[in-house]
């Protein structure tokens, strides 16, 4: 079964054809970095305009690369939430039109579930597992019982991890997107030159603290931007490379701390890490070297937003009989999905 996936939830326009949920026949991603670079962040109206300009060409390319044409497509899947409404709408209208005009099933997909599914292409994960979704728009710690189901344990109270990378990179004049720029610069720096705060919000022993699994990056970001000198290790140098390396250390160490806390509390010794920040080499090294749990990462090409993860997950949804109507609407917010019940996440 071939499923055409479409992903436009933020600033990447992507279309992909995936066979039987596992074999990626094509995965075309059109990035918009150059259009958002001067703002050092995603501008929703610019993102929507670019999606609208390229969506049909991206779909064309994905079908051509897969060698299926529309004739070989059995269903169309699309990210419907969470995300930027104007961006989601472009993908939704395209997917609905394909479904209606070709008389094939439409499957709306939760973007976060799709990121979590991205680890399935290169791993055979065992459930239940702890999941960490880290990107420019999300920093989420989840417990997942099976494909397509999760419970939110914690999320960021302010900036997302990737957003903090973008803002610090902008401050240091390293360009956009900030993740790869910080990582590259940090290679030449000393990560112990500065002792930036690792914001855990709650101590390890505070079992019932409401922020036990939550994250906060605004304090770290402000420490780097406004008060770097204050956190300087005595005698250390003060270069952009050192600041980048020290920031990267603080920003990524907290991810491991929170994941280990969930592993220990819930007794689940498997952690899936996905989203754009999962591409960071320090994050991969930290988690892969950990002995208390097994880690699953997607291939590097599948960490950013992409439609292969949408089409792959849709295969399983289709198998469960899930279909969407043509009145499927975009939603900006995220929901808990636990055993078929949905609760709007409060953040």
């Amino acid at each position: 079964m071939n499923i055409l996936g479409i992903e436009t939830s933020c600033d990447e326009t992507s279309a992909s054809v995936v066979r039987n949920g596992t074999r990626i026949l094509s995965n075309v991603v059109a990035t918009q970095f150059e259009f958002h670079e001067r703002y050092a962040g995603v501008v929703p109206e610019i993102a929507s305009r670019r999606h609208s300009e390229v969506i049909n060409y991206v779909i064309e390319e994905a079908l051509e690369e897969a060698g299926t044409g529309f004739e070989g497509i059995d269903a169309v899947a699309v990210s419907s939430h969470p995300g930027l409404i104007g961006s989601l709408l472009v993908g939704l209208i395209a997917a609905k039109t394909i479904a209606a005009s070709l008389a094939i099933p439409l499957i709306g997909i939760n973007h976060i579930e799709a990121h979590l599914y991205s680890v399935h292409f290169d791993n055979d994960p065992v459930y239940p597992l702890i999941a960490l979704i880290i990107s420019g728009g999300h920093t989420l710690l989840l417990r997942s019982e099976s494909i397509g189901g999760y419970e939110i344990l914690g999320s960021t109270l302010d900036d997302a991890a990737g957003e903090a990378f973008d803002k610090v990179a902008k401050h240091l004049g390293l360009g956009y997107p900030g993740g790869p720029a910080i990582e590259e610069t940090a290679k030449k720096g000393d990560e112990n030159a500065f002792f930036f705060p690792i914001v855990t919000l709650a101590g390890d022993k505070s079992k019932n603290h409401p922020d036990r699994y939550n994250f906060s990056y605004s304090g770290l970001k402000n420490a780097v931007i406004n008060q770097s000198e204050r956190f300087k290790t005595p005698g250390a140098r003060s270069t952009a490379c050192d600041i980048a390396a020290s920031f990267q250390k603080a920003a990524t160490d907290v991810l491991l701390i929170k994941a280990k806390r969930a592993v220990k509390d819930l007794g689940i010794r498997r952690v899936a890490v996905a989203g754009g920040v999962a591409n960071n080499s320090r994050v991969r090294r930290l988690f892969m070297n950990e002995t208390e749990f097994e880690s699953y990462f997607p291939a590097r090409g599948l960490t950013q937003d992409n439609a292969a993860m949408v089409a792959g997950l849709a295969y399983h949804k289709h198998g469960l009989g899930e279909r969407s109507d043509l009145d499927l609407q975009p939603r900006s917010r995220l929901e808990n999905i636990v055993k078929g019940k949905r609760n709007t996440h409060g953040k």
């Binding site: 305009r49 609208s52 049909n56 209208i93 609905k96 039109t97 394909i98 005009s101 043509l326 975009p330």
Partner: protein
């Protein structure tokens, strides 16, 4: 079977023309209703016992107007072009307004309110546009209508129209309150013998972000 969608303002419209009669979805005055365009089109076709494969041409309002609304209409017909090979024609919201008003009046200024208290406007004589599509502040718009001295102002913005007329002291200007209509799109294309474009439609953004 010609399909025309109107999503540039909060008055959603959709029409099918079978060469003799029009079959319309009743205009829906509701913000964001254009998100339902695919379901509405499918339902209208089914009422006529037709499907998307029976559509031979598709027209969409390319703006100026609501950025999101225009993108929805354009994305819908572009994807229809992609799946079914339907030829496409884009029509401007201001042209639609002026065409309808211009049947009876000359000359015409058509305008639609933009964000930030600006308007998109164009000036027409004898059913032809004689200026560029303009994005004007209120004071610029007042100077504009004083200069071109239209016989009629046509717009979906009733309150704004009267304010501008009062300020510009054009008491002899007739006000036509209207909104772009999908059926008018079909008539405009036929009247001006517009031909399908070879590629996908692009929204008409008069003003940059």
């Amino acid at each position: 079977m010609i399909l025309c969608v109107e999503t540039a303002t909060n008055a959603f419209g959709l029409s099918l023309f079978d060469g003799r009669d029009y079959h319309d979805v009743e205009t829906v005055y509701k913000t964001a209703y254009s998100q339902n365009v695919v379901a509405e089109a499918k339902a209208l076709l089914e009422r006529m016992e037709k499907s998307f494969t029976d559509v031979t041409e598709a027209y969409a309002d390319i703006g100026p107007g609501s950025f999101t609304g225009i993108r929805i209409g354009v994305c819908f017909v572009n994807t229809l072009h992609q799946t079914c090979g339907v030829p496409l024609i884009g029509v401007s919201s201001l042209d639609l307004l002026a065409f309808e008003a211009g049947r009876w009046y000359n000359p015409v200024v058509a305008f639609i309110r933009s964000r930030k208290n600006e308007v998109y406007a164009a000036f027409y004589k004898e059913e032809r546009r004689v200026t560029e599509y303009l994005a004007l502040r209120k004071d610029e718009f007042e100077r504009f209508i004083k200069t071109v001295r239209p016989a009629v102002l046509v717009s979906p913005e009733e309150d704004f129209t009267q304010t501008c007329i009062d300020t510009a002291l054009l008491s002899d200007v007739e006000v036509c309150f209207s909104h772009p209509k999908s059926r008018t799109g079909v008539e405009l294309v036929r009247r001006h013998k517009m031909i399908p474009q070879p590629d996908y439609l692009k929204p008409l953004y008069v003003r940059n972000i």
